[in-house]
């Protein structure tokens, strides 16, 4: 069973943080811009929205998210990586509660608990399960992954 190194946990954290922060920044920027009709006649409006600093920052963070996501998928199962993306919902709710002192309803707390439990279930198991596909591929030395030097 491949043991995750500190660097790999950083990549998983990058997925959660970058996706959440990127989405929030993008949403903030788009709200500032107001309604844009998504139609072929209004392409200039869409293109100009990139010039908004919030939108730019959001897009950069989403690119960073994509890089982390691709990196994680190169050494872990899809069903292992995916729950990490949903931790963002929990992160947003916790920031809203403790930084902005917003009220969180009991149903939302239950949702947070369920997501956290689900992520815990997956994280406690192996990150990569052997598959027929892996066993037959000799393109990359799989063992090098597990023997990676810890940071």
């Amino acid at each position: 069973m491949p043991q995750l190194t500190f660097r790999k946990y950083l990549v998983l954290a990058g997925i959660t943080v970058c996706a959440t922060a990127g989405d929030s920044l993008l949403a903030r920027g788009m709200k500032q811009l107001g309604n844009i009709n998504v139609s072929p006649h209004n392409l200039s409006g869409l293109l100009l929205s990139i010039l908004n600093p919030w939108v730019t920052a959001g897009i950069l963070l989403l690119l960073a998210f994509f890089a982390c996501y691709m990196s994680a998928l190169s050494w872990a199962d899809l069903t292992y990586v995916l729950p990490a993306t949903s931790l963002g919902y929990v992160l947003v709710a916790l920031i809203a509660r403790f930084c902005f002192h917003e009220e969180i309803s009991p149903t939302r707390w239950l949702g947070i608990a369920l997501i956290a439990a689900g992520v815990g279930f997956v994280a406690a198991g192996p990150s990569l399960t052997p598959s027929r596909q892996h066993l037959h591929s000799h393109e990359t030395p799989r063992d090098a992954v597990s023997q990676e030097v810890k940071l």
């Binding site: 660097r7 790999k8 998504v38 996501y69 691709m70 990196s71 998928l73 190169s74 050494w75 199962d77 899809l78 069903t79 292992y80 990586v81 995916l82 729950p83 949903s86 919902y89 709710a93 149903t107 939302r108 239950l110 949702g111 947070i112 608990a113 369920l114 997501i115 956290a116 439990a117 689900g118 992520v119 279930f121 997956v122 406690a124 198991g125 399960t129 052997p130 598959s131 027929r132 596909q133 892996h134 591929s137 393109e139 990359t140 030395p141 090098a144 992954v145 990676e148």
Partner: protein, 126 residues
Amino acid sequence: MKDLYAWAAIGLIVLTSTTGDVLLSHAMKRVGDVGELWKRRGVLAVLGRVLATPTFALGLMAMGIAFYSLLFGLSWGNLSLVVPASASLTFVANAVAARIFLHERVGRRRWIAALFVAGGVVLMGL
């Protein structure tokens, strides 16, 4: 009628984003550990190898379609319906698809996790 359109969009989002995730995962497994590759050959080798993998381009296309389906879905349905419904259904669909197409061993642990996370996402969206 509008509800029907919203659910059709949700169905399309789930289908395309699951397809995209599976294709991207398949592509990255073929590329191999990018951290290792980066250390040995440098960042250009990583980019070249990723871009040369056909399933990567297909996965990106599927993700693009999923993104536009989401935009259309949001114009037909409520944010509080479309986002949680598509996100949670995608989790379950991904677990099924990963098992069938990627041959991942989705054990009891991961099924429970997929259902928990899907349920949690719905509750957070309420």
